[in-house]
């Protein structure tokens, strides 16, 4: 039986009052909307029409909503039972873009379905490979999931979209004030005020963006233009195609998505159990199966592949509200919003500095939770080198991507994501160094509770 951590306000099995539940769900859907720009970019890049952009955004919202709901379920080994919402998966973006370039949206759908089915397979065999993922490696996965959020968070926070652009002082100031607001509520907020840190920061950020002209007529025009109600549909939605040549890249991306989900679910377990020691593989398997359903549904209905959201998991940890009922509410609302383009447009015009502040806020939680899991595994010399070497090469991919530019063929996909590279190195090193006699544990560092 898990022991309730002292900072938790609504634990996973508890049900918040209706109004609180509604506000918490809204807080989550704002965060789930943070990557809705990706389907817009994807369809625009391949020369898609406005109706296709609107259609794919709505269908992606529906698949993310469904993913959030099935993840919160726990029925006969299906679902993790945790609040672990889905969003449009940034790690799928590059491969989906490649597929869309080659064969349009039908190929994107076909390859998404293949990725979903592969994750389902991974979910079924994870019991047999649980020895590959001791706590220090799952901690590393959580840490690298947080690391993957840094480029998006930092660039949005500084208001920079393209290389060489100047930092906008006003945008930076709004982002800093919004972040300060969220941090302050979390650090100094008493009682249930802490539940709404992100929502309070969001409201402050929107007010400041309005006052400084960062959010104005142009953004509101997009909201006014959208119809109130529309059935999510687009021409050719039933066409699905497949290419064997793209399969290796999609399998790697699917494995990366599965690792990320493992990291997210590990963090969910840790947040809900003060005595957490190691991942519950049965629960993670159920979660992966639910995630695979979400990805497959994305491909079948014509949305962009969804993925579990690290930032939402970090938000639930920060706010102290991890009730799965919030997952049902947020998922249901997200599905409903797919039918109301005006409301979904309102979410998708979130000012850039506000989005940046939220991402920096949640990334801090994710990074430190990963570090905490690693450190709490009782580091010895073997573990230090497993995690350390994996980190060096994983991070080098982000810092110096040109180092690996010469790697071609199927191996290339391994070097598309620091998360994949670091995990593969750690898993291999863990097996290589396994036969050696364990060294004496190093002094355990005092770790602050995250």
């Amino acid at each position: 039986m898990p022991r309730r951590p002292p900072g938790l306000i609504y634990a996973v099995d508890e049900r918040p009052p209706a109004l609180t539940l509604c506000l918490l769900a809204i807080q989550h859907i704002f965060l789930m909307s943070s990557t809705l720009v990706l389907p817009v970019v994807l369809v625009s890049e391949i020369g898609g029409r406005f109706e296709e952009v609107r259609g794919i955004v709505a269908l992606s919202m529906i698949s993310c909503g469904v993913g959030t709901i099935v993840q919160a379920m726990r029925v006969r080994g299906f679902g993790s039972g945790f609040l672990c919402p889905n969003l449009v998966g940034p790690n799928f973006f590059g491969s989906l873009m490649g597929a869309a370039w080659l064969g349009g949206l039908p190929l994107m759908r076909g390859m998404t379905i293949a990725a979903g089915l592969f994750e389902a397979l991974f979910a079924r065999v994870i019991h047999r490979v649980r020895f590959l993922f001791p706590p220090e490696i799952t901690g590393l996965v959580v840490l690298m999931v947080g690391e993957a959020l840094i480029p998006l968070g930092a660039s949005k926070f500084l208001g920079i979209t393209y290389p060489d652009e100047p930092i906008s002082g006003v945008s930076f100031a709004v982002a800093a004030a919004t972040l300060f607001c969220m941090v302050a509520v979390n650090v100094w907020g008493r009682g249930k005020l802490r539940l709404y840190g992100v929502l309070i920061g969001l409201i402050g950020g929107y007010v400041l963006s309005l006052a400084t002209g960062l959010f104005g007529a142009a953004q509101l025009h997009r909201v006014f233009q959208a119809p109130w109600v529309a059935f999510p549909w687009m021409a050719g939605i039933t066409r699905i195609s497949f290419r064997w040549s793209l399969l290796p890249a999609f399998l790697i991306v699917s494995a990366t998505g599965a690792l990320k989900t493992m990291g997210n679910l590990t963090m969910c377990e840790k947040v809900n159990d003060a005595d957490w020691k190691e991942p519950d593989i049965d629960r993670i398997s159920g979660g992966l199966l639910a995630d695979s359903v979400a990805v497959t549904v994305s491909g079948l209905i014509g949305g962009m592949a969804s993925d579990t959201s690290s930032s939402n998991v970090a938000l639930s940890s920060a706010s102290g509200a991890t009730s799965r009922v919030i997952g049902y509410a947020a998922g249901g609302l997200f599905v409903a919003l797919g039918f109301f383009p005006k409301l979904s447009a309102l979410l998708s015009v979130m000012p850039t500095p506000v989005m940046g502040a939220i991402l920096v806020f949640v990334t801090s939680f994710m990074l430190l939770s990963g570090a905490q899991i690693i450190l709490s595994s009782g580091l010895d010399a073997r573990k230090i080198f497993i995690v350390g070497i994996a980190l060096v090469f994983g991070l080098s991919l982000d810092i110096l991507p040109e180092l690996y530019a010469g790697i071609q063929g199927w191996l290339r996909s391994l070097f598309d994501s620091p998360l994949t590279l670091a995990t593969v190195i750690a898993v291999v090193l863990n097996q290589v160094l396994r036969s050696h006699r364990a060294t004496k544990p190093a002094d355990t560092l005092p770790v602050p509770s995250v």
Binding site: G98, S155, K156, T161, D164, E165, F180, A184
Partner: protein, 309 residues
Amino acid sequence: MIRFSMAFVLLLCLLGPGCSRRDSRAESRVDPYLYEDTRQLVRFVESAADLIEERGTEAAFREFQRPDSSWQKSPTYLFVYDTEGRNVWHGMNPELVGKDLITLRDPLGKPVVQSIVDVAGRPEENASDWIFYLWEERPDFHPEWKGSYIRKVVAPDGKVYLVGSGSSRIKVEKVFAERQVDAAANLLRQQGTEIAFHELIDPASRFNYLGTFVFVLDAQGRALVDPSYPTLRGRDMSSFRDAVGRPVVQELLQKLENSETAWVQFLWPKPGERLPSRKLIYARRVQLGGQTLVVGSDFFLATPIWMKL
């Protein structure tokens, strides 16, 4: 909570003076541009133009010169010319003020100041345009491509000036390609293929810009004007495939069968790089005496800093 409230109010006080609502007229001028550095340059020139329009050159130049003014703190500098090509204000090199620079050319032979002055010939009172040329801000072995935004301005005394500012960090915007291709199409229609092809291939023409150029293909995808390979005229480009095997020219020709203009995106490594980057072609179909021509220009599209392909 008291500490928090006080700190937030303090932050708002610090933020307040630095924030101002952006002028909606200037904002409508920056709408077509994708990149913030382009937008910032346009805003900079538009504000300078507004100041000259409202207060005249004398008061405006005094403001431009004030040491702690925003004009002095900007990473780019302003220049102002009269309609004869005489420099009347230069934010970087005051020695140029008063000089007739109409004959000034860049290393390729592009008539830089003449191109600036040409903007004054437009009928609109607030006409604007971009000019692209090779330039060196300081002694260097290789000049860099520079893009300058030029704005026509009528001072209160009725005199017409050209105010502008440039940057060597300007990226190719989609509107730049559209303007160049549309201008080349007009040139073809008005002057015919012989004169137009000659101009398109000339390195000193306006169609050579920011490291790219305007090309012309026939309806089968054979190159008629290809400034990067002037000796390979007539080569078949229809079989060209990008880094992931996409038949780019075939796709372009297919799109142009049903439309006057088309955009095609593809992947290609930048010079000296191995990993492919996003590249975009804009093309326009031109009917000329029974012949179908495809006028186009391609350029590397900047990728959002957080996005990995």
